[in-house]
Every structure is written in C-alpha cells, then in structure tokens.
C-alpha cells in the first residue's frame, strides 16, 4: 500500500470515528493527520512546543531537501566539522562557482579537519545557486554549504 493510500484509509477511519487527530509510526514511516473544523478549538500543532525543543531530523547523507518555499532546491551539507575552503590550494580558483553545473562526482569544496584536506563531492546533479560559507570559515557537521537547483531527470 502506498503512503497516500494509507493516508486515505486513515482519514476514512477518522471520519467514521469522529477523530480530530491521528498519528502513527511504523519503523521509519510516520503519519500524522489532524482535522480542524470551523469553531473547533485546536492546537496550532506545534504551538505548545517551546522553541527550545529539539527537532530531530536525521540526515542520512549530505543532501538536504529544503522546506516548502524552496521546494525546487536542495542543499549540500557539511559531512564533518572543520575549516571550509572553496579551492584545492591557496590562491587557486574555487572548485565551483555560482552558475556551475555539478554532478555526483564533482568536488565542490575542501574541508580541513586535523590538517587533513577532505574533498566534498556534490553527490547530485544540478546547478550551484548559492554558496553559504566564506572561504576559510569554520563549519560544523550538518551545516549547509551550497544551494543547488537539481537537474530535472
């Protein structure tokens, strides 16, 4: 059963039972549905969750899908903590610039950790839209480095 089918089935269960909210989690699949009717008093979803609460979004790889407003873009994120360099060597040209097209194997930057220069690859195909970090700046694990417009397949 596809996830959409599951959602549909859940909604009919909700309607039958006059539920206002349902949340299920199976392994890595999580579904949460909520109904609000006019005049209904309901939570603004996360309103009761203070800003300090942890949001656990695990990244399995170095590419991150951006939320709604940027649905067409993805980000290349840092796979380690270290110092970000745009070029392979001091004085050399940057590995990539805005407007460059990259593919899975394109080296987009270098991150130095413990005197070791680690190449970071794009791991996707697309166009570099933005570079978030300046040359020589420190980056942490999971930090966004580049914004990329993926190539349509």
């Amino acid at each position: 059963m596809s996830i959409i089918d599951k959602v549909k089935q859940l909604i009919s269960i909700m309607n039958e039972n006059k539920l206002s909210e349902i949340e299920i989690q199976e392994d890595v699949t999580k579904i949460r549905i909520k109904k609000g009717e006019v005049g209904y008093i309901h939570t603004a979803s996360s309103t009761t969750i203070p800003s300090v609460y942890p949001q656990q979004l695990e990244q399995k790889n170095s590419v991150q899908v951006l939320p709604k407003e940027n649905e067409n873009f993805v980000e290349i994120i840092s796979p380690m903590v270290g110092t970000f360099y745009r070029a392979n060597a001091p004085g050399a040209d940057p590995c990539v610039n805005v407007g460059d097209f990259v593919n899975d194997e394109t080296v987009v930057c270098i991150i130095e950790a413990m005197k070791i220069m680690n190449e970071v690859k794009a791991e996707m195909a697309g166009e570099i839209i933005d570079v978030y970090v300046n040359d020589g700046e420190a980056v942490e694990y999971g930090q966004s480095l580049f914004r990329v417009k993926p190539s349509t397949k």
Binding site: I49, P50, V52, Y53, P54, Q55, Q56, E58, Q59, M80, V81, G82, T83, E112, A113, M114, I116, A138, E140, Y141, G142, Q143
Partner: protein
C-alpha cells in the same frame, strides 16, 4: 586560568562541567551530535558545535571530529566527562600532541591503569590486597580452567578493557566457565574492541567501596574519602553514598592509604577513583582505578564541600592542590540515586521518548543534576541515565528520609523511569540497616517476581 575549554561529552555531565566553567568565568565549547543539537543544556555553553551524526562513533567517540572542532574554536583544554573518550589513552595522546590539555591523568597513566591486568600488577607490587585470580590475560580455555581450579569456584570473568560493569560474567563450574568464556570475549570485542579477558575469584556477599583521589602536577596526592556503591544491578551502580555505612574507621583509613599508595606508584594526576571490594569479614581487595570523574562524584562534593570539577580544571591548568589532607573532613551524609529512563517491567530496557512533564524535587538538602525538562526528547542512541538525585543531611537516617520524600516528589511523565525502583530500595529496611551486598537488588527483584 583557562579562558576557553571544550566539553567533549553530552547530557547531564556536559551540563555539570559547563556549570562549573560558568561559575569560574571560563568560556565553553560544547560538542554535540546531530540528535543533541537542540538540547537545552547546549544553550548554557558559549559555543555549541555539531561534530557528527547521532551514533556515538561518528560524534562523541569521533576523535578527528573533536580535535578538528577544538582547532576551529581555539580551545586550551578538553574535559572528557565520564564514559565516551574519558579513559581512552589514545585520545589523551592526540590532545597532548595537539598541544591541548586533556583534563585528566596523563595518557601513559590512562594506558597503564586502563588495562586491568596491569593495574592489578601495580597493586600487587605495592602490597595492596587483590582478588585471587589470573595474573594476566587468559588466552585459552585450558588456561581459564587451570586458573579456576587453582583459585576455586565461583569465579568472575572480566574484560581487560571493560568498565561500568559491562562484560562481566560469573561461572560456578567448568561447564558454565567454558560457555561464559566465549560469550564474554565476544561481548568484550563488541563493546571495547578488545577481546582480552581475565579471571578472578568471585567473592560473594561483597560491598563495593571506592576512594576518591586527587593529584596535582607536583607530586601532591590526597584522598577525599570513600563512596559506597554496593547497590548495583548487573554491576551497574544504582545508589551511591558517602560515607560508607559498611566499614569501620580503621578499614576506611587503610583503604584510603592503599588508594594513595597506588596513585603515588603511577604519579597519578587529576581526579581518579580506586575501587575496592570489601567482604563481610572486613577484608578489602583492590579492583581497579577509574581514571576519570565518576558519575557519583556529587556525593563526595556534598560531604567534603569541594567542587571536584573545578578542582580538576584548576589542577589541569597547573595549579597546586590547595587542600591539605588533614583539612579534608567529610561531614554529614550524602546519597545519590541514578534516575534512568528504563522500564522495570521490561527487564530495564531503555525507554527513550518524549518527557511530557518534568518536575524535579527541590527544597532543603536536595540537589538535582539533570539536563532534561518538560518536552525533552530522550534520544535512543546513548545512555539511559537522565538524572542524578542527590540529598545531603546530617545523619544517614535523615538522608534516607529526605531521599524518600524527594523521590516521591519527582515527576517524570512520558517515559518509564527507575524512580519507583529507587523508592523501593531506599525505603527497604535492609538498606536502612546498611546490611546489604552487591546482590541485594537482584535478589529483591527476583523475590518481587514471585
């Protein structure tokens, strides 16, 4: 004093160290994994740095990541807390070669004492009683049987690189020894990447008593009295107290003297704990040295009035010990209960999840060391300990009464915890009498099931 140090740990102990630093006016860099990134305690650090994914291998045990973070944040020293890299001599070595001060003993001391067979040899050489057993690593099944026959059953199999009670097994005869041996080696390999094990006489009806030691870089070594950690479940400490209700004044003095002897033998620096078994006749046996801050350090802080973490930092900075041995006069009684997110109904399985309501106890005599709060999500990747509840009173009777009321006040909703177990233990007449041994908890749990 240092102007900026890194806390290479997580949870309550990271918060404990950050608190000490704030009070000392030292900036802190706190490392974290992806799943701890938004933990509230990190807001108490000056610079939080995410260094890796959720699994500890990639984050809290990731030496290159930690050193890299140290370099970019320009810190002078690293406090490793307990667990994770705190006793890893290689990590201390890397720090030393990176000109970062490791807040703990020197790497060669970690190496020497980290190997229990080595530590045992040092104790024997210094005429400290040890539990009869294999003098070194047991390499074959036959050797294990020979040792067992020599010292007599029951025996206990321990991992050379083990700690925290993991990798220990008791055997009562040849068959169980042969079976346990293979399992223990596999477990040791999995847990510590070192399958070496050794065998000791298993002493029944034992108490677990440990001595807190402190050395500076100038050869001064003192002890801060003892802690009693007899209340354990599967070799995991549950309730600790100081002073020990089990030992005489003379035994206390002898053990403290022995602890200092061992520390002097290796030129021990910074905080450490020398662990002993005490049998019912009042004989004591050296077990091992924990070359780091202990989980249960607050009980020593309460009775001595000394802040162990601040003391560690001062000594690592190169200050001399400013406490004379004879001025260490423990007073009162402190008890600590570890609160774990575990389900007692399900074999104490860790119970991660969201804490929907958290209301710690307060008032006179109560100290809570915890990083959790209403809404905190306990990640499933790490230790299940979420809080330490410590009480301090003039007498043991008052301390027990205070712990009872504090445990009853403690509200943690959303996950199962060991609060009810702690309450049962602390209210047990046998605990009050002080007449317990290291099997007390398991015997009680077994009885509860019938």
């Amino acid at each position: 004093m240092f102007s900026r140090i890194m806390v290479a740990n997580r949870g309550e102990i990271a918060l404990r160290i950050i608190r000490a630093c704030r009070e000392m006016g030292i900036e802190t860099v706190a490392i974290c994994s992806k799943s701890d990134k938004n933990a509230m305690y990190l807001k108490q650090a000056d610079i939080p740095v995410c260094i890796g994914p959720s699994d500890a291998e990639g984050s809290y045990l990731n030496i290159p990541g930690i050193i890299s973070a140290a370099e970019i944040t320009d810190i002078e020293a690293i406090h490793p807390g307990y667990g994770f890299l705190s006793e890893v001599s290689h990590f201390a070595e890397v720090c030393e070669s990176s000109k970062i001060i490791f807040i703990g003993p020197k790497s060669e001391v970690l190496k020497k004492l980290g190997n229990k067979t080595e530590a045992r040899k040092i104790a024997i050489a210094n005429k400290i009683p040890v539990v009869p057993g294999s003098e070194s690593v047991v390499k074959s099944q036959q050797q294990a049987l020979d040792v067992a026959h020599m010292i007599g059953y029951p025996v206990i199999i321990k991992a050379s690189s083990g700690g925290g009670g993991r990798g220990m097994r008791v055997a009562h005869n040849d068959i169980s020894l042969v079976n346990s041996l293979a399992v223990a080696q596999r477990e040791a390999e999995a847990a510590f990447k070192d399958p070496s094990i050794y065998i000791e006489k298993y002493i029944e009806d034992t108490r677990h008593v440990e001595v807190q030691i402190f050395g500076d870089n100038y050869g001064n070594i003192i002890h801060l009295g003892e802690r009693d950690c007899t209340l354990q479940r599967r070799h995991q400490k549950l309730i600790e107290e100081s002073p020990s209700p089990h030992i005489s004044e003379r035994l206390r003095e002898e053990m403290c003297k022995a602890a200092i002897k061992i520390a002097k033998a290796v030129n021990y620096t910074n905080a450490g704990t020398v662990e002993f078994l005490v049998d019912k006749l009042g004989n004591f046996y050296f077990i091992e040295v924990n070359t780091r801050l202990q989980v249960e350090h607050p009980v020593t802080e309460m009775v001595t009035g000394i802040d162990l973490v601040k003391q560690q930092i001062r000594i690592a900075y190169g200050e001399r010990l400013n406490i004379k041995q004879k001025r260490v006069r423990p007073r009162g009684v402190a008890i600590e209960c570890r609160i774990n997110a575990e389900d007692p109904q399900n074999g104490f399985r860790p119970n991660p999840g969201k804490i929907t309501l958290y209301n710690p106890p307060g008032g006179r005599g109560v100290r809570v060391d915890s990083h959790v709060y209403s809404g905190y999500e306990i990640p499933p990747y790490y230790d299940s300990m979420i809080s330490k509840l410590i009480v301090y009173q003039k007498t043991r009777e008052e301390a027990i009464a205070c712990m009872k009321r504090a445990l009853k006040e403690y509200i943690i909703e959303g996950v199962k915890t060991t609060i009810p177990l702690n309450l049962e233990l602390i209210a047990h007449p046998q605990f009050a009498s002080g007449n317990i041994n290291t099997n007390f908890v398991e015997n009680l749990l077994a009885k509860n099931q019938h």
